[in-house]
């Protein structure tokens, strides 16, 4: 089976992100990057699919040279081949999906895995867009997957419950937490990853349809207020919640 998995290189969840001086992008200085956690689940599912059906897993990332670190992690987990679609420019979800879909078409994947969203811009659009561009089914936020010859059954999260769907391959599947427990790369995997080449390709230029005007951090949390420590404070607390915080 030809298995494709798309991965993004995103700021580490433990890093304090700063906005760059132009106010439009994240300042990469001092930021640790990592394999997007939902994509990591996608990588694991891709590897499990290969274990079941054989074939190869190709991991692809769109971005600049730093994305190679994330590709190496995926190789160390066990992917067979890595491709960097090299374009350091910032793109919107449409422009990202366009280039990834072009690659998927050229490669001819039987199944494509993505994370349900990247934890940097949180658009949650890329998987669905790729499927649309390729004219194939897309099932998002998948927590359980059973692939059979040419078709699959997926369980996905919906508001307040789960939904079980059936569809045909090829398809795009976007991974949600719970789908699997991503494996650790092994030490042997890390060594092997150093030797596996990362193929570099220059994707077609695609114009973004959405352009960031300005980025802002959420307002700093205001200092808490203690109105008292016994029952006599209740009335004042209710008044403040009602009149100042306006939550009740």
């Amino acid at each position: 089976m030809k298995i494709l998995v798309f991965v993004n290189h995103v700021p580490d969840t433990e890093t304090k992100v700063k906005i760059g001086s132009d106010g439009k992008v994240i300042d990469p200085a001092g930021v640790n990057y990592m394999l997007n956690p939902y994509d990591e689940i996608g990588v694991e599912e891709a590897l499990k699919t290969k274990q079941q059906f054989g074939g190869e897993v190709v991991v692809v990332s769109l971005g600049g040279d730093p994305n190679k670190e994330t590709l190496r992690k995926a190789l160390a987990m066990g992917c067979d081949k890595a491709v960097l679609l090299k374009d350091p420019a910032i793109r919107d979800s449409y422009a990202v999906a366009r280039s990834l879909a072009d690659y998927a078409k050229e490669y001819g994947a039987d199944v494509i895995f993505c994370g349900k969203q990247s934890i940097d811009y949180d658009d949650a659009q890329v998987g669905g867009l790729i499927a649309e561009m390729l004219g194939i089914p897309s099932v998002s936020v998948v927590v359980k997957l059973e692939i059979k010859e040419g078709h699959f059954i997926a369980e996905r999260e919906i508001e307040g419950g789960h939904e079980i769907v059936h569809s045909k391959l090829p398809a795009v599947i976007t991974a949600q937490k719970g789908l699997n427990e991503p494996r650790y790369p092994s030490l042997k995997g890390i060594m092997d990853a150093k030797r596996k080449p990362i193929e570099e390709k220059v994707p077609n230029a695609v114009e973004s349809r959405v352009v960031t005007e300005v980025m802002r951090k959420p307002p700093a949390k205001a200092q808490g207020k203690i109105v008292g420590s016994d029952a006599s404070a209740a009335a004042e607390l209710v008044r403040l919640l009602h009149e100042e915080a306006k939550v009740i």
């Binding site: 670190e69 190496r72 992690k73 160390a76 650790y184 790369p185 092994s186 030490l187 042997k188 995997g189 890390i190 060594m191 990853a193």
Partner: protein
Amino acid sequence: MLRDLARDFTNAEIRPLAARIDREEEIPKELLKKIADVGLFGTAIPEEYGGGGFGKVGFCLAQEEVARVCGSTAATIGAHQSIGAQAILLGGSETLKKKYLPILASGELLAAFALTEADAGSDSFNLSTRAEKINDKWILNGEKVWITNGSIAGLFSVFARTEKGITGFVVEKGFNGVSVGKNEKKLGIKGSVTNTIAFDNVEIPEENMIGIDGRGFLIAMETLNSGRLGLGACCFGAAKEMLEMSVAYSKQRKQFGEPISKFQAIQFMLSDMTTHIYAMENMVYKAAFKLDNKEDISLDAAIVKLYCSEAVSEIADQALQIHGGMGFSAELPLERFYRDARILKIFEGTNEIQKLIISRQILKQNGKWNS
């Protein structure tokens, strides 16, 4: 990536079990299996023998992370890889290496290093376990004490006396006549098992001799040199963890209306800890780098062992002091770190023995520093 892997793995898989490992005095089998699967039993073993091929530097990085969360697990991995398997790697013939290193690197078998005897501790040269050659077999008789991994290891690198001097042998636990005593009760690293191993007319195939007959003591000493660097890395890892705990606690604990981190007495302890840690990091990696470049590290190893184990003991004491009564309580992991640190001044050569090595060497060099 190695450090990230080791950190993610130890935080997720070992940290939650560390208190239980100490309490139940054993590492769960499932955890040993996970450590094997991820490759941490073979970090430094060359790739051609199935290991990770990360050298001593890589081994130290990984051990740091393990020691940050669990001294018992670090001791288990260290005894297996850094001395048990290391003796074969350093001294063994190609046949012997091919026979055993791959199954040790994969963690299918664990190794132990068996040098110490009841009457040969610091004076290990005085050992009396005997190996006699009869036809094409060696026959081993004697008893080793304080052997880390004794009850969980599948093979032992054993040092014994032959007609020609001291010689190393690989002895499988399954060989007839090998028996393992009960797990010793200890002050610290309780989850790392320690046993007496007895050999009663154990037959060993000729090919299991490590290196040349009569040259084993050198191999044992070189193995310990390398082991001492891994031990230093454990001290360094544990020290960093205790510093982090101490800083967090001192900022949060208030007395006299302020966080105790505002008191100079506490600040100075944090400064001492930080300074020790800086020195530890530098000496561990300088020595590990030299070893990977095949330079002689006998002096470095003794200094690393001595300094790092003294420093981590002092740090454990200060960290406990900063935590006050809470530090003494078994509610927090600190008392475990305090107990686990104590062995580091004793095994792999007591610190007194390290001082002997250092002074002997510096006297030989007429006090001249090599740089």
